[in-house]
């Protein structure tokens, strides 16, 4: 009955500091992701978006909460996952300059996941598979013998995508895959990612700070603030009817290039204040220090996620009656 391939329930990841302090990087996040869907996870720096990615991929062990992938509980750390579970979920990091080993040729980098996930591939087939991977991301085959330093930023990122594809995953976590790239290169990488998703019916968890990119890429958008979700909704609904005060502030802060976009911004809300340190999350609603609709209750009581319309959830004390 459940067509979600990934479900996260009340995920928490705390990092203890010296002196008994705790960084609550992720503090009770619940998400779901359907097969073939792109979920855009958007937040400012320090909001915990990358931590969620690292917990999902198994680099960190969750402090609390459950991660259900295709019906199997994978909340345990990555070391205790089966090879099959690991191959199902892959990640592409932000900076291809540091996620690709500079001393390995592209062939060597691509051969690692192949060796791990499809063992006993004879040498000849390995070459063919590497060519196939390069072909899938439309890179010239002679790139196999090159080092990352000989490639441009966009090409390197496509190699990272090819490396993720090598394990034959059904879910790829894209952690800011294009934020280090120029827009003309970004457009190329994004269009390739969208094509691949259609060809292989992949699911994407697309992590970014660039909200306008999500309009083109995501089926659903979720907004993260200080390790908690503020709002999530299907993309068209999200951009037409943003409800959470933080979402509205975020949207109206985006510099845009056309008057039509200008008119989509919620009545010019001046952004004010800054994101507090996650060591010292304000009590009640984490956003109340910057919120223009603050009520007394916001300072004391943490709001719950409530459904406004089908699929549109907001975590705020305000009343959103339709």
């Amino acid at each position: 009955m459940d067509d979600n391939i990934l479900r996260i329930d009340n995920l928490k990841k705390y990092f203890p500091l010296k002196g008994g302090l705790v960084v609550k990087a992720v503090d009770g996040v619940s998400l779901r992701l359907a097969a073939g869907e792109t979920l855009g996870l958007v937040g400012e720096s320090g909001s915990g978006k990358s931590t969620i990615a690292y917990v999902l991929i198994g680099m960190y062990e969750a402090t609390d909460g459950r991660i259900i992938y295709k019906g199997e509980d994978i909340s345990r750390g990555g070391l205790r996952r089966t090879l099959k579970q690991k191959s199902e979920m892959q990640i592409v990091f932000q900076d291809p300059g540091s996620s690709l080993n500079p001393k390995r040729t592209i062939r060597q980098s691509l051969a690692v996941p192949l060796a791990v996930h499809s063992k006993n591939t004879p040498g000849k087939d390995l070459d063919k598979k590497i060519e196939g991977l390069l072909d899938e991301v439309e890179l010239p085959l002679d790139f196999a013998g090159k080092y990352p330093s000989a490639l441009g930023g966009g090409e390197r990122q496509l190699v990272s995508v090819a490396r993720a594809l090598a394990a034959n995953p059904s879910l790829i976590i894209l952690d800011e895959p294009t934020s280090a790239l120029d827009v003309s290169i970004q457009a190329k990488v994004i269009s390739k990612l969208i094509d691949l998703q259609h060809e292989k019916s992949l699911s994407y968890l697309f992590i970014t700070h660039d909200l306008s990119l999500m309009r083109n890429v995501a089926d659903r958008v979720a907004i993260l603030y200080l390790g908690r979700l503020c709002e999530q909704a299907p993309a068209p609904e999200f951009f037409q009817n943003p409800l959470h005060p933080y979402t509205q502030m975020l949207l109206s802060s985006i510099p845009v290039v056309t008057p039509e976009e200008e008119s989509m911004k919620p009545a010019r809300i001046r952004s004010s204040g800054e994101i507090p340190s996650p060591v010292n999350v304000p009590p009640g609603c984490a956003f109340h220090l910057r919120c223009r609709n603050k009520m007394p209750i916001c300072e004391t009581e943490r709001p719950l996620m409530k459904t406004v319309t089908e699929g549109h959830e907001v975590c705020c004390h305000l009343d959103f009656e339709r």
């Binding site: 827009v183 970004q186 951009f239 510099p255 989509m264």
Partner: protein, 333 residues
């Protein structure tokens, strides 16, 4: 946004004409800036926008005459308040940097020295700008006033802080305050919001706009983001591979982009309205050591013809105050 450019009566504060700069790297010459012309008047907000490596920062460095040693000026002039920057004596150059033009950088964390308090760095900067016998309390007052003008009201605490005790947005405000405190006329802002979150970037850009409106300063805003430039400048220069391919009043250029590069670049920007993204611009930026003799965009331009490859296109005024360097400006799109 129309406020800019109305001060046409003013003499230009800064004028670059046909600046060309190349860099010598291991005996190879890289022709980076190729004929950059700019004019900045008091109270104007001028934008330079382009992708990485197109020469935006080199242009700013050329203005302050702080290009690295391997840079060679191949032609053109920079004049500040009517004086040729590259013919200035040491003292004149010092004067320009003390009271004329100052720069703020992309990353405020590396622009401030981590081992000194804001106070010590701020007063050092002011001592450089103001006469040497200015008493310390006067310097301190000036600093406090500047911090207030950048919306950092608690100046006493800020001055006592080390950079690590301030957030990114606050550090950038401090950098801006240091630039304007002595009353400089021109601020060169090199990607001032890029390393900050969007909500903080929005605050910083609003602050810079306000400073231009309030006082008599002018700003050259450098950014790779078309959105930032559209919202915070009155006049824009679109740069590609060391050349200005299109320039004009910001509103006009964004409404009627005419250079094929500008059009292609705008199509690559993701929009809130959800318009289809283009598939990027094919090809790569030309090799600066052997740039094409014609239009530098010709190798990637889908409208390129024979003539584009041979000789540099002229700068054509296709509408009042809207210049395009393309043989087919107005015909393409």
């Amino acid at each position: 946004m129309t406020r800019d450019g109305e001060n046409g009566m003013n003499d230009p504060l800064l004028e670059l004409s046909d600046m060309s700069v190349s860099f010598d790297v291991y005996g190879r010459k890289y022709h980076v800036l190729d004929g950059i012309s700019l004019t900045v008047r008091k109270g104007e907000r001028i934008g330079l926008v382009g992708e990485s490596g197109c020469g935006k920062t080199s242009t700013l460095k050329a203005i302050l005459r702080v290009l690295p040693r391997n840079a060679v000026i191949n032609g053109g002039t920079v004049s500040f308040s009517g004086k040729d920057v590259y013919k200035m004596s040491g003292r004149e150059l010092d004067n320009m940097r003390r009271l004329g033009a100052g720069m703020i950088f992309q990353d405020p964390s590396s622009a401030l020295n981590p081992v000194f308090t804001i106070e010590s760095q701020f007063l050092t900067a002011l001592r450089y700008s103001l006469p040497p016998n200015t008493p310390k309390h006067e310097l301190y007052e000036k600093a406090a006033r500047a911090l207030e003008s950048v919306m950092l009201p608690d100046s006493g605490r800020i001055m006592k802080s080390y950079p690590y005790q301030l957030s990114g947005g606050m550090k950038q405000r401090v950098c801006i305050a240091m630039t304007i405190a002595a009353g400089r006329e021109l601020m060169l802002a090199d990607e001032p919001g890029t390393s900050l979150d969007v909500t903080i970037q929005d605050q910083i850009l609003r602050l810079i706009n306000q400073l231009v409106l309030d006082g008599n300063i002018a700003v050259i805003m450098v950014s790779h983001s078309l959105g930032v430039i559209r919202e915070s400048t009155g006049y824009v220069n679109i740069m590609y591979a060391g050349t200005v391919v299109e320039s004009g009043n910001t509103e006009e250029v964004f409404k009627n982009p005419a250079h094929p590069y500008t059009v292609a670049l705008m199509a690559c920007v993701p929009k809130l309205t959800g318009e289809d993204l283009s598939k990027g611009i094919p090809g790569r930026v030309p090799d600066y050591s052997r740039p094409p003799s014609g239009c530098r965009f010709s190798s990637r331009c889908k409208f390129a013809k024979e003539i584009c490859l041979g000789t540099k296109p002229p700068r054509i005024e296709i509408a009042p105050n809207h210049f395009v360097s393309c043989y087919f400006a107005g015909e393409v799109i």
